[in-house]
């Protein structure tokens, strides 16, 4: 199951590595990016810096960014909440929260399938873009351009020309 373009995204409130609970709706955001990621997937790691750069570059334009890890930590201990916290601390902090979806219910409700898997919502929390950050995990010069194009369109009050792209990466590691 996946949310459709124009649908209001399912709400959630998830714990972050910063010790706070983070709801989807925080109020005041002109756009919200929610992306699934994890600690062990090379695709997620390859795109990591580009996604953090987006969060930094758009922070003063009213864009809120949330990263979510839904992987089964029993089978993949590298993706446990403790490992998430250690990673963020080891990297000197991230410019956005890193949330743990321990029950995997949020990933299921959103139809998140890959790491990374990017969703862009407008100010009403309606889905405007879904897919990959850009066309090539191995080319950092692309700079998450698909995500940036989508954000620029949403901030301009327009529908992104490219609304869906195939999410490329590791599958979300579901519980048995």
């Amino acid at each position: 199951m996946s949310i459709e373009l124009g649908d209001t995204a399912p709400g959630f409130e998830l714990p972050g590595t910063d010790g706070a609970d983070h709801p989807l709706e925080a109020g005041g955001a002109k756009a919200t990016v929610v992306y699934w990621t994890c600690n062990h997937c090379p695709y997620a790691l390859a795109w990591h810096d580009r996604l953090l750069d987006v969060a930094r570059d758009y922070a003063d334009r009213g864009v809120r960014v949330l990263a979510v890890n839904s992987n089964d930590p029993d089978r993949y201990p590298a993706d446990s909440f403790e490992a998430m916290s250690e990673r963020v601390e080891g990297e000197g902090g991230w410019p956005h929260p890193f949330l743990h979806d321990a029950s995997q219910e949020v990933a299921q409700a959103w139809g998140a399938e890959k790491t990374p898997h990017v969703f862009v919502l407008d100010g009403d929390l309606s889905l405007r873009y879904e897919g990959a950050p850009d066309s090539d995990h191995d080319d950092p010069t692309l700079g998450a351009e698909w995500l940036r194009e989508a954000l620029d369109a949403v901030l301009a009050g327009e529908q992104p020309e490219r609304s869906r792209t195939p999410a490329v990466g590791c599958g979300v590691k579901w519980k048995p």
Binding site: P42, A46, H137
Partner: protein
């Protein structure tokens, strides 16, 4: 596995003499999409080293049991005469997962650096 006698022969430009080609294995898992690019890189590296890319032994990993039996650290994995061309990254899961590689410039990638593939083959051929 093919025996050494069944392996194809390559020709060294340096000495013009035939030598036994190494056995090159490519182990992959279909759920990790980097295998296609990695296999293309491996084929190119084979050609660059005077080896026949058709001699690559491709082994698809389809179950955790198969992966464990093969000592599969993740997809893709390239072995030259049984030796992995890269050390598996520490602290990462093994088995039916996408494997983490480090490119020569330090970037993380789901496939090995093509230069590492080329050099691993060249090093084996020079032994």
């Amino acid at each position: 596995m093919p025996s050494s006698s069944s392996r194809r022969r390559a020709f060294s430009a340096a000495d013009a003499g035939p030598r036994v080609s190494p056995e090159v294995e490519f182990l992959w898992w279909s759920e990790c999409p980097s295998w296609e690019r990695a296999l293309a890189d491996l084929r190119a590296a084979m050609v660059e080293n005077g080896l026949d890319p058709a001699s690559i032994v491709e082994r698809e990993m389809a179950s955790e049991a198969q992966a464990e039996a093969a000592g599969f650290p993740g997809s893709p994995t390239i072995r030259v005469d049984g030796a992995d061309i890269a050390q598996p990254a520490e602290g990462m899961p093994r088995g039916l997962v996408c494997r983490v590689y480090l490119r020569r410039d330090g970037r993380v990638s789901p496939q090995p650096d093509p230069l590492d593939v080329r050099d691993a083959l060249a090093a084996r051929l020079s032994e």
